[in-house]
């Protein structure tokens, strides 16, 4: 089956026109244009000085109309630079009925010998003619997404994203698992900004934003609600939500608080880090939204006392979970973070000594809405501590089990903030921060200096343990600058615990199948140049769900995510048409393809396989498992690859060497750079551009080797999602090559990077030499 391949062009007498560009001597100085012209078999062959000029456009169009051309080959420079230009020049033909033979970057700029370069140019043009004959008219797929979005997580990131979307006219659902929106910022107490050397009330900053969110007509807030499942089909996310009852009707409840007087149950208040108690019926915090009480059913005894007391009759004790379906065009993940459990470092005595607390707890203690109404007190006795020691990097920059290798980015600022607040209010209390490195990037350095001026003491060294000695706690640390083993006596120890991914992030990443990082935060497609995008098209991430960051950065990221959503709402998503398509006649519904697709593009719909063009990358993986061969990549990809291969091998002379090189976008750009920099490589190298090297299948490789290729070289960019896939299958293909009685060494797989073009040229040379030394 590999030897003869019937190419299935619909119309056999397609009229092809070839337009050759001299490129102002760039091509014609090396390639003998007359010989090239006379060696090509096409219906029209024309040459021009500068084909990309406006004059070129007229000539191409006239020829298409007057000579009734069906297909066009442009033999000129690289498609990377001019594909769009020539796609436009061949109107009224469909843009995908044109192909470019890259005579400049891949021939005249890399080869010096005129005869050899001319022969190669003929081959490149022939391959394009063969390929273009297999091309079909296809249109880009435009997916219009509905103008609505779901924001998952109601902390400062989610709130900011929702507001931004709402203001841009997008209907937004803000989904929060807890009974109120507000997130971690509610607990934070005071915040500071580096430019203002003063601490402001966090709640006072959050409140107006929360109010705006509550009142905005484009925002619907769903509290006590979590995501059960999501599915993305053709620009649409179908989401199933589970909404839990509050047991208090939020329309009726007037927040009078009469019910709590009656409730016999007392449990630690989680909104206060467990430092105070609350009833089973409660309001999370005074400004919470919705402005209503809620019953925590885990602890409620169902005595009904609150019901009797409620003047509004708002309380009901029987309620069912509700499943709510939602349809939106995009999703923003803002599922936030949690902090490291200090019990995992028992050496610091967190649970053993009442006065060993976390920064978050210290924030509660000093928050006016906290358990001591803002007074700094030791938890063991009613006294202001004379000394407070803070321990940095608890669980951060820590490679021990349960630790986190990364720096949590905000702890130095949080420690400085709390230390400064202590120094302002209680100048007699001594504060020592034990640090490994103080990290206060950018403007925050100013705040660091401010702290030093306030008399905060800094000791460089990472404490190993906290003990009790008499009435005091003792922190054991080396003062590494003085090279001294030191014991610091103190009243209070504050642990700066690491920021870690929240459980919500973990859950949603599983539900939606979005990628996560090694540290379990939600992963961005490319952390450098594609911030806030995730591996799932139409889903974006912001805030601490993506990694440790402060409030400002969270808000900025939220706005970035909102603007990405607005982009797809306004313009729709235009998708390359080269996606998988299914032949329902042939498909036997074995569903093998569904499980293999990395992009989750396939599903069953109305007893047929449905491929979501939004998700399909056209990688072609599904083709390899489909036994009845019911799947095809739209636009005849398979046939085009076969045709290009046979075109590249056409007219091969006795003793001539031809090596086929398959490169994707990244590899092709690297190869262009070889040309631009005039680095030479052997004439035996023939480059074929593919969308993903995964589309090059064993049958193509074996077909090439059987039909005269001396070697096949596959270049892959290691950042590609399919990289592992491709690498794995290479060994399998080598086996197959062996089965066909050929030397598996004729296949080479190699990493490519755009800037590493000289390396790629060297690899071409080495492979050419290796092939040259082979006899079988």
């Amino acid at each position: 089956m590999y030897d003869k391949k019937t190419l299935n062009s619909q119309k056999l007498d397609l009229r092809v026109g070839v337009f050759i560009c001299r490129c102002g001597g760039n091509i014609s100085d090396i390639v003998d244009i007359d010989k090239l012209k006379s060696s090509i078999d096409a219906d029209v062959v024309e040459e021009f000085e500068n084909l990309c000029s406006l004059n070129g456009r007229k000539i191409i169009r006239d020829n298409i109309i007057n000579k009734e051309l069906d297909r066009v080959v442009i033999a000129s420079c690289s498609p990377i630079t001019h594909e769009k230009t020539f796609q436009d020049y061949i109107q009224p033909l469909n843009p995908y009925l044109m192909d470019m033979a890259n005579l400049r970057e891949q021939c005249s700029w890399v080869h010096g010998d005129m005869d050899k370069a001319t022969d190669k140019a003929i081959t490149l043009v022939n391959a394009s003619i063969e390929k273009v004959k297999q091309s079909q008219a296809v249109d880009p797929i435009l997916c219009q997404t509905p103008e609505s979005a779901a924001v998952i997580g109601g902390g400062i990131s989610g709130i900011s994203a929702a507001l931004s979307l709402a203001k841009q006219g997008v209907k937004t659902y803000l989904i929060e698992k807890k009974p109120s929106i507000g997130g971690n910022m509610v607990k934070i107490g005071k915040v500071f900004s580096p430019v203002k050397l003063a601490e402001e009330c966090g709640m006072c900053l959050l409140n107006p934003i929360m109010n705006e969110t509550v009142w905005h007509e484009n925002i619907e807030i769903l509290t006590n609600t979590k995501v059960l499942s999501t599915e993305r089909r053709a620009g649409n996310f179908s989401i199933l939500l589970e909404s839990n009852p509050r047991y208090v009707d939020e329309e009726k409840c007037i927040s009078c608080g009469k019910c709590i007087e009656e409730c016999p149950v007392e449990v630690p208040n989680r909104w206060d880090d467990g430092l105070s108690m609350r009833k089973a019926i409660y309001k999370p915090f005074s400004q919470s939204y919705p402005d209503a009480y809620t019953i925590d059913m885990e602890n409620c005894e169902k005595c009904g006392k609150c019901m009797k007391k409620c003047p509004m009759g708002a309380i009901y004790l029987k309620g069912e979970k509700e499943i709510v379906p939602l349809n939106v065009g995009a999703v923003i993940l803002a599922t936030g973070h949690k902090t490291f459990d200090p019990n995992l470092r028992p050496e610091y005595g967190y649970n053993r000594y009442a006065d060993v607390i976390t920064q978050s707890e210290l924030g509660r203690i000093m928050g006016v809405n906290g358990p001591t109404k803002g007074k700094l007190k030791m938890l063991s006795k009613d006294r202001v501590p004379r000394r407070v020691v803070m321990i940095q990097c608890v669980g951060s920059r820590d490679e021990k089990p349960d630790g986190h290798k990364y720096c949590s980015k905000v702890c130095c600022m949080v420690a400085l903030k709390n230390a400064n607040i202590i120094k302002h209010k209680y100048p007699d209390t001594d504060v020592i921060i034990c640090y490994t490195d103080m990290r206060t990037p950018g403007m925050y350095e100013k705040y660091y200096k401010h702290g030093q001026e306030n008399g905060i003491r800094l000791l460089r060294g990472r404490p190993g343990e906290v003990n009790k000695k008499g009435d005091s706690l003792v922190v054991r640390v080396e003062d590494t600058l003085q090279k001294k083993f030191t014991e610091i006596e103190t009243d209070m120890v504050v642990l700066s615990t690491a920021i870690e991914p929240s459980q919500g992030s973990e859950e949603i990443s599983k539900i939606m199948n979005v990628g996560i990082t090694e540290d379990m935060f939600i992963k961005e497609t490319h952390p450098k140049i594609k911030p806030v995008t995730t591996d799932v098209k139409g889903a974006y991430v912001c805030g601490t769900a993506q990694g440790p960051k402060d409030i400002t950065d969270s808000i900025m990221q939220a706005h970035a995510a909102a603007s990405k959503v607005a982009e797809i709402m306004n313009d729709g998503l235009e998708i390359e048409p080269f996606v998988a398509e299914i032949d329902d006649e042939k498909c036997n519904l074995c569903e093998d393809c569904i499980s293999i697709c990395k992009y989750k593009a396939m599903s069953i719909k109305d007893e047929m396989i449905y491929i979501d063009p939004m998700s399909c990358s056209g990688c072609g993986k599904c083709l390899t498992v489909c036994k009845p061969r019911a799947i095809n990549i739209h636009g005849n990809i398979d046939e085009k690859i076969f045709a290009t291969i046979s075109g590249m091998l056409k007219g091969k002379k006795e003793g001539e060497k031809r090596i086929l090189v398959f490169l994707d976008q990244v590899g092709y750009t690297a190869a262009d750079n070889i040309g631009v920099n005039r680095v030479d490589y052997p004439e035996s190298i023939y480059i074929i551009k593919v969308h993903s090297v995964n589309r090059v299948m064993p049958k193509h490789i074996i077909y090439a080797l059987k039909n005269g290729a001396d070697g096949v070289f596959i270049g892959e960019y290691p950042g590609d999602l399919m990289y592992q896939e491709v690498e794995n299958k290479m060994n399998q293909i080598r086996e197959e090559i062996k089965d066909h009685g050929m030397n598996p060494e004729r296949l080479q797989f190699s990493n490519v990077y755009i800037p590493y073009f000289r390396g790629l040229a060297n690899k071409f040379k080495e492979f050419d030499a290796k092939i040259g030394s082979m006899d079988a």
Binding site: C393, R397, E399, G461, R462, P463, R476, E478, F485, T486
Partner: protein, 193 residues
Amino acid sequence: MDTIKIDDNPLELAEKIVEDIKFSKEKGLLKCVQCGMCTSMCPGARNSEYNPRAMIEKVLEGDESVISDKTIWNCFYCYTCHSICPVGNSACEVNQILRQIAISKGIANEEVSPFAGFVDLMMDIGLGGIPDNFHQDLIRDIGKEWEEKNMNLNKIREELGLKPLEMPKNSIKEIRVLLKKTGLDKRVNKLRE
């Protein structure tokens, strides 16, 4: 003033240690951030001038003087630093390797020769025991009763129905031959030079 020259390779010593068969922590040494957590918990550091972090710092600077630094002999080999280092280094193992280097350079005789008594005892009675030169220290640390117990050991054993702590003469001879064959006697003599 110290000058760091272009061709200096400060990591030579560190790399030698990382490659030593004794060192179990892969690249941990090279990741030390000088946090001092090891020192904070080190009983050696608490009771003497020894400082495991400073020792690691010298190793990473390629400062060979650390090998002859007397304080490295104050480590107890308690492995506390080994288990708490947040980047997976082991000051304890680094210390052991440094001591080995010092011994092979012949600059540690003063530190190691007192222990030669252990070898003498093996040669003499074929058993491990506490050499005489430690007796005074033990009496001081533990008290008179230790001396009494030690002097009357065989009597106490007899009361307890145990045989005297003795090797048959032949076995002692065999052990002596074996130890000599391994060259241990020569090594010990070298330490005493």
